[in-house]
Symmetry: C2
Subunit: 317 residues, 2 copies
């Protein structure tokens, strides 16, 4: 297991800068008053392909040696990683193979194809996915880029908090959502080296609290397909991300489904930005743990903005 | 009729700067490719109180002489002007009286009260509104601030394009929505003086195209309560705004209800920002008149972001 280090983040940053946005940091007086903290929202919802995942994807794709280019890259994901990898591959002009359940929403398939991704459909089960993916990998020889348990991906995600600490001085804490742990690991990588006094909190849905339980148990607990509105956060930790969580995270805080939806709607309403349910989990946990953050300068990673506008969570019965 | 001039805009700018945001200008590669133009979105949806109207309201409120402060300000509006005037009055610590139909949505009443506005309800008819407003004005002695046909308000709105031309060089055109004409008049005031080569286009819903018909007829045509999803654009031109439209606008372009809703959804989806239907009319008209804007550098005023998240136009049947 190769654990990415500060130099990997620095290399990633040089590599990905031409292909990504330096996203803005927004603030809201209203939310500062509501929480009693000073909040700085790093808006990766404005990122290329709509999410921070393009950082890791670009680092993996643009770091590929020349002799691997023709075969391209591959992944199994129906979310932002698939979009981001397709975008990155498209920018480098190489193929990107994506294995997706045939039951995935048409809008997601269209979005991946819109960025040039080549979709191979599988049945909506883990066994089918693994089987179909193995076949695609064997036939194409494409390089597998895991959505988070990959040092190239973590080093790429780490560029986000490198920007954040340049944009906002003297942060006391950073809160980011945790699913598989790619963003949190990148945050740990950068902050533990460049701003070790900044506390790192992970925010997780109660309904998919495997990372919080892992954190307390001291070993990875992986749940089977938890259900949560924060659909980017269903996946479990893996060895590489667990390493960072175990060593650098101060605490993992959780929020209920209703608290997540309320926080999401509050951000849309007051900040006028479109972001995903996953991105609302940090604010939801801060509102629940005001004493922890009162008077502090707190960075919040708004991880992405790819949401189905036809089916917003507060409109479902 | 006092026609505000460049000096009034400059005075307004000094006066309002402490109380408003210098809003960012966003761009979208996707929308540039789609339209064939280079678009620069001036994001007044991120403005204080959620709309550009706070510029004019702050100019009126902070320009009031001391001996008028105790009596405060008053208006009849159920939209962004009421919110903005309440916000401005609250910042100056003076009363703001708002006459609103009792049938106005509870959320709008709550928002006005949230900024400290004092609501007096009237029946949902023009005669009741006028009668109740006259009574409030007589009883309180408050200074009436019209939502748009007021030189103080127009000079305030004019600060928006003063920022825009500092933020974006060499614009060929600016497109802004037109309802009563406050924003367009402010745009004309600034650009005709500071950047006279920039063409000014007004964008209007087909269903409320009284400004377009006025423009062609050469005199004001005021419709009775037109119906459009762009609910900020239902009001007619008045003498002061007509002056600016007649003298400085290149053309008034219109878009259908469906085109407006489609453009709104497209902006939410691709730019990840929350904005009102009214703010989508410019993009809708540009998509309809591509040849007019092809290859041009075009500023677009995103006028506001106060939208009912529980009832988005593409979700209604």
């Amino acid at each position: 297991m190769y654990i990415p280090a500060l130099d990997d983040m620095k290399t990633a940053r040089e590599r990905v800068t031409p292909y990504i946005h330096r996203t803005p940091v927004l603030t809201s007086e209203f939310l500062n008053e509501l929480t009693g903290a000073e909040l700085f929202f790093k808006c990766e919802n404005f990122q290329k392909a709509g999410a921070f995942k393009v950082r890791g994807a670009c680092n993996a794709v643009f770091g590929l040696p020349d002799d691997m280019l023709a075969r391209g890259v591959a992944t199994h994901s129906s979310g932002n990683h698939a979009l981001s990898l397709s975008y990155a591959a498209g920018r480098r002009g190489i193929p990107c193979h994506v294995v997706m359940p045939r039951t995935a929403p048409q809008a997601k398939k269209d979005a991946v194809r819109g960025y040039g991704g080549i979709i191979t459909e599988c049945e909506p089960s883990t066994s089918s996915r693994e089987e179909v993916f193995a076949k695609v990998e064997a036939e194409t020889g494409a390089e597998f880029v895991h959505p988070y348990n990959d040092p190239r991906v973590i080093a790429g995600q780490a560029t986000c908090s490198a920007e954040l600490i340049e944009q906002v001085e003297n942060l006391d804490a950073v809160v980011a959502p945790i699913g598989g742990g790619g963003m949190i690991s990148g945050t740990c990588l950068t902050l533990s080296n460049l701003a070790p006094s900044v506390k790192i909190y992970a925010a997780e849905p109660e309904m998919a609290d495997d990372a919080a339980r892992s954190f307390r148990a001291g070993h990875i607990i992986a749940d089977d397909a938890p259900e949560t509105v924060a659909d980017g956060l269903k996946v479990p930790l893996k060895d590489l991300t667990w390493h960072f969580v175990q060593n650098h995270v101060t605490d993992i805080l959780t929020a209920s489904e209703q608290e997540i939806v309320d926080a999401m709607k509050l951000i849309w309403k007051r900040m006028k930005i479109v972001m995903e349910p996953s991105s609302a989990v940090p604010l939801a946990t801060i509102l629940k743990n005001k004493e922890t953050f009162a008077g502090k300068r707190v960075g919040i990673i708004i991880t992405g903005g790819n949401v189905d506008l036809d089916s917003l969570p507060w409109m479902e019965k």
